[in-house]
C-alpha cells in the first residue's frame, strides 16, 4: 500500500519532469526499486527484441520509472514515455541504466 500512495504523487510525465541533477550510479533496470527513475544507458538483447524495445521507447537517455511488480514478483511494470509496459526480469537485466539516488518527487 505504501507503493500505491507514493505512486499517486507522480503524474504521467513524471519520468520527464524528474530532477536528474543529483548523484547517480550505474545499475541494471531489474535492480531499481519501485518508484525510482532510471535513465537508459544501453541495451544488450538479441536483435529482434532489442529493436522492438527501442521502438517502444527504450533508447539511450530515455527515462524509465519502476511502477510496480506483478503479484508473483515478476514481471515488473515500467512507465516510459507516458505508458506502461511489463518486462520479465531477464529482459530488464539486459538494460543498463543510471540510477539516481534521491528521487525528487516534488
Amino acid at each position: 500500500m505504501v507503493a500505491i500512495a507514493l505512486l499517486s504523487d507522480f503524474g504521467a510525465e513524471v519520468a520527464d519532469d524528474f530532477d536528474l541533477s543529483g548523484a547517480w550510479k550505474l545499475s541494471l533496470l531489474s535492480e531499481l526499486p519501485i518508484g525510482t527513475v532510471g535513465v537508459v544507458e544501453s541495451l544488450d538483447l538479441p536483435g529482434e527484441i532489442q529493436h522492438h524495445l527501442m521502438h517502444m521507447g527504450f533508447v539511450p537517455e530515455a527515462r524509465v520509472m519502476v511502477v510496480r511488480r506483478a503479484p508473483a514478483g515478476d514481471p515488473t511494470v515500467y512507465s516510459i514515455d507516458g505508458f506502461e509496459v511489463a518486462l520479465r526480469r531477464d529482459t530488464a537485466q539486459a538494460i543498463r541504466v543510471r540510477e539516481y539516488e534521491t528521487p525528487n518527487t516534488r
Binding site: 522492438h52 521502438h55 537517455e61 503479484p71 514478483g73 505508458f83 520479465r88 529482459t91
Partner: protein
C-alpha cells in the same frame, strides 16, 4: 553516452505524392493499441474481407469505405506496428504492403496514420518512417476527446506544418471527426496538392534508427506544444487492487472461475437447444423431400454433420464475448501479467493463459484467441497444445462410457463418487498431456533463444457494445466459413463412404469394411470393429462416435442411451472402455480444429504434425490403459 542535446540528425524528404492522380486504395497504419481496428470498423461498416497474407500468419483485413460513403475506395488495415523496419513479421508485412510488393494486395496510394493522442510523443515515432514513404497521408489523432478531457493539448495546425501533411483530431469509438477522412480523400482525388508544409520541405530523422526517431518525435511534440494528459488516476487506482499481491491473484481466480462457469452453465444448454432445433428442422425438411437417397444425403449426411459443428456456435460466441470484454477493458493484459510466472514454468507466456482456458469449452475459439500472443513460437506452441484441453465435444463419449462401465460408488461421501473421480482424472490427463507437449515443443522444434515478454498495459476503458458486436460477428464468420467449406466436404465424403455399396447397412459399407479392416490394429487396445467404425466417423467431430455406435448397435433412438449402455457392456471389456476414453482424451478427432489450425498457422504442416503426434500418443496411451487393466485389474 550523452548526445541527447546535440542537433537532431535529419534528412530532407520530398513530399510530392508518389502516385499522381486518383486514389483507389488507402492503407490504415498505426501502432498497436492506437484504436486502429475500431476506426477500421467505423470506416468500412460491417462488410470486411478477412484472410491471411500469403505465407505468413498475419491477418489481412480489407474493406470498402462504406462507413463514409466511399464504396469506390478500398481500405487495407495493416497490422499494428511500431516502426517500418523488419523487426517482426507484422512489420515486414506492413512494409511489403506499403511498397506494393505483397501479392494479392492492391498497392496503397494514400495513408491514414492513426496515433493515440494520449501517448502522442511516443506514437509520433512511427510518423517519421511512414511520412518518408512520400504517399499522401492524413494523420489522425485518435482519442482526442479523452486527451482534452484529461487536460492534454496539442496544436494540430503546428503539427500539420511540422509534418507537412494534414492532421485531424478524431474519436474512433464515438465516431467523431471522421469527416476529415472524407475531406482528405475528396481533396486528394484532385491532382493539385492543397496542403503545404511550413518551409516547403520537412525534416525527418535518419531512417532505421529508433533513437533518432525518438529525438525527432520529442522535438516535434514540444514544438507543437503537446501536453500529455494527466495520467488516468483510475487506471492506477484499479491496478492497485487488480495487481495487488493478495487481491490480484484472488480476483483473477474469481474472474476465471466465473467465465468458466457461465460458458458451461449458459453455453451448454444453448448448444443443446440449438442442436435440438437444427435436428427438428432437419426432420421437417426431410419429410418434405420424402424418403429417398437424396433425403439421406442431405439430412442424415450434410445437415446432421454440419449441425453437429454448428451447435458449438453459441458457446463459442459466448466465450468470445468474455474474451472481448476482458481484452477491450484492459484486464486481459493484467491477467497475462498475473499468469506469466506460472505459464513460464511450462515454457509458455502469460498471454497463453486465457486461450488455454477457453480450450476447455472448445479448441476452435481458443486457437483463434491466440492472436493476442505476438511471439510466434509461443503462439504456435499454444495452438499445438490447446486441443489436449478437455473440450465439451469429448463429454458425450466420456459420459456414455463412464455411465456404462463405472459403478456409482461413493469415495468422499455423496458429493464425490467414483464416476466423478474418473471424469476428473480424464480432465487431469488432458492437462498433463498439454503441459508435457508444451515442454517438449519448447525444448525442441519451437525452442526460443530467449523468452521475450513485452506486455503493454493499456489504460482501463469501458468496452463498447459496437466493438464487442463486431468482434463476435467477425469470429462467428470465421467459424461458420470453416463449417461451410472443410466440414461440409468431410461430411459428404463420410456419407458416400458409408453408403457405398448402395443398399448396404453401415457394417457392409465401405467405411464399415474399413473399420473391420483396421480391427487387427485396434484389437490390442480392446476395441472391436464397431468401435473402429466409430473412430473413423468421429474424425469429423468427437461426439459423432456416440451416434455411430447407436446406429451400429441398432438401438432405438428414443431409448438409445439406455440400450446403448447395455449393448456396450456386452460387447466391450472394462479395459477396452477405459482405453476408448483415454484415446479420446488424446486424439485430435476434430475436423474443425484441424481446419482452424491450418488457417491460423497458414500451412498444412502444423495441423498434420499435430494430428500424427496426437494420434500416436492416443494409440500408445490406449494400448497401455487396456493392457494394464487386463493384466492388473481382476
Amino acid at each position: 553516452m550523452s548526445d541527447c542535446c546535440g542537433p537532431i540528425a535529419t534528412i530532407d524528404v520530398p513530399i510530392e505524392p508518389r502516385v499522381a492522380g486518383r486514389i483507389r486504395t488507402v492503407a490504415l497504419v498505426g501502432p498497436p493499441n492506437s484504436g486502429k481496428s475500431t476506426l477500421f470498423n467505423r470506416l468500412t461498416g460491417l462488410r470486411q474481407k478477412v484472410a491471411n497474407y500469403p505465407g505468413v500468419t498475419v491477418e489481412q483485413r480489407m474493406g470498402r469505405l462504406n462507413g463514409i460513403g466511399r464504396s469506390d475506395l478500398i481500405l487495407i488495415d495493416l497490422p499494428g506496428i511500431y516502426g517500418l523496419d523488419s523487426y517482426s513479421e507484422d512489420a515486414r508485412v506492413a512494409v511489403e504492403v506499403l511498397h506494393g510488393e505483397m501479392p494479392g494486395t492492391p498497392t496503397p496510394d494514400a495513408i491514414l496514420l492513426v496515433l493515440d493522442s494520449l501517448q502522442l510523443r511516443r506514437q509520433l515515432m512511427l510518423a517519421a518512417p511512414v511520412l518518408a514513404l512520400g504517399l499522401p497521408t492524413l494523420v489522425l489523432l485518435n482519442m482526442s476527446d479523452l486527451m482534452e478531457a484529461r487536460g492534454g493539448q496539442v496544436d494540430t495546425l503546428a503539427l500539420a506544418q511540422e509534418l507537412g501533411v494534414p492532421v485531424a483530431k478524431i474519436s474512433a469509438t464515438r465516431g467523431v471527426g471522421l469527416d476529415a477522412v472524407t475531406h482528405f480523400l475528396n481533396r486528394k482525388a484532385e491532382p493539385e496538392r492543397s496542403i503545404a508544409p511550413a518551409a516547403g520541405r520537412i525534416e525527418l530523422p535518419v531512417m532505421g534508427n529508433p533513437r533518432s526517431y525518438r529525438q525527432w518525435a520529442h522535438g516535434v511534440s514540444s514544438r507543437t506544444k503537446y501536453k500529455a494528459p494527466i495520467s488516468n488516476e483510475w487506471t492506477k487506482r484499479i491496478d492497485g487492487v487488480l495487481l495487488h499481491r493478495i487481491w490480484g491473484p484472488l480476483i483473477f481466480l474469481v474472474v476465471v472461475f466465473a467465465v468458466f462457469q457461465v460458458v458451461f452453465s449458459i453455453g451448454q444448454p444453448l448448444n443443446d437447444g440449438l442442436g435440438d432445433l437444427l435436428n427438428a428442422a432437419g426432420a421437417k425438411i426431410g419429410a418434405l423431400i420424402g424418403h429417398n437417397w437424396l433425403e439421406s444425403l442431405l439430412i442424415d449426411g450434410v445437415w446432421r454433420g454440419v449441425a453437429s459443428v454448428l451447435v458449438f456456435l453459441p458457446q463459442i460466441l459466448l466465450l468470445f464475448l468474455f474474451i472481448g470484454v476482458l481484452e477491450d477493458s484492459g484486464y486481459l493484459a493484467r491477467a497475462a501479467l498475473i499468469a506469466d510466472r506460472v505459464m513460464r514454468s511450462i515454457g509458455l507466456n502469460g498471454k497463453a493463459f486465457i486461450p488455454l482456458l477457453s480450450a476447455y469449452a472448445c479448441a476452435v475459439p481458443a486457437i483463434m484467441a491466440t492472436r493476442t500472443i505476438e511471439n510466434k513460437r509461443d503462439r504456435f506452441a499454444t495452438i499445438l497444445v490447446a486441443p489436449f484441453m478437455t473440450c465439451s465435444a469429448r463429454l458425450p463419449i466420456y459420459m456414455l462410457m463412464i455411465a456404462a462401465f463405472i459403478p456409482n460408488k461413493p469415495i468422499l461421501g455423496d458429493l464425490f463418487g467414483l464416476r466423478a473421480a474418473v471424469m476428473l482424472s480424464l480432465y487431469v490427463l488432458g492437462f498433463v498431456a498439454a503441459l508435457g507437449t508444451a515442454w517438449l515443443l519448447k525444448s525442441s522444434i519451437l525452442k526460443a533463444s530467449s523468452a521475450p515478454f513485452i506486455l503493454e498495459l493499456p489504460q482501463y476503458r469501458f468496452p463498447t457494445v459496437r466493438s464487442l458486436g463486431l468482434r463476435l460477428m467477425d469470429r462467428g464468420k470465421v467459424f461458420l466459413r470453416q463449417a461451410g467449406t472443410v466440414i461440409l466436404a468431410v461430411t459428404i465424403v463420410l456419407w458416400i463412404l458409408s453408403h457405398i455399396p448402395f443398399h448396404a447397412d453401415l457394417a457392409g459399407s465401405l467405411i464399415g469394411r474399413l473399420g473391420q479392416l483396421i480391427e487387427p490394429l485396434i484389437k490390442p487396445l480392446g476395441f472391436n470393429w464397431k468401435i473402429g467404425i466409430g473412430l473413423l466417423t468421429s474424425v469429423m467431430a468427437r461426439e459423432v462416435i456416440v451416434g455411430t455406435l447407436g446406429t451400429l448397435y441398432g438401438a432405438d433412438p428414443a431409448t438409445q442411451s439406455l440400450g446403448l449402455q447395455a449393448a456396450l457392456r456386452h460387447d466391450l471389456t472394462l479395459g477396452g472402455a477405459m482405453a476408448l476414453v483415454v484415446f479420446f482424451a488424446f486424439a485430435m478427432q476434430c475436423t474443425s480444429t484441424i481446419a482452424i489450425v491450418r488457417r491460423e498457422t497458414n500451412s498444412w504442416r502444423w495441423p498434420a504434425l499435430q494430428f500424427v503426434y496426437m494420434s500416436v500418443l492416443a494409440y500408445v496411451a490406449a494400448l497401455v490403459t487396456n493392457q494394464v487393466i487386463v493384466h492388473f485389474v481382476r
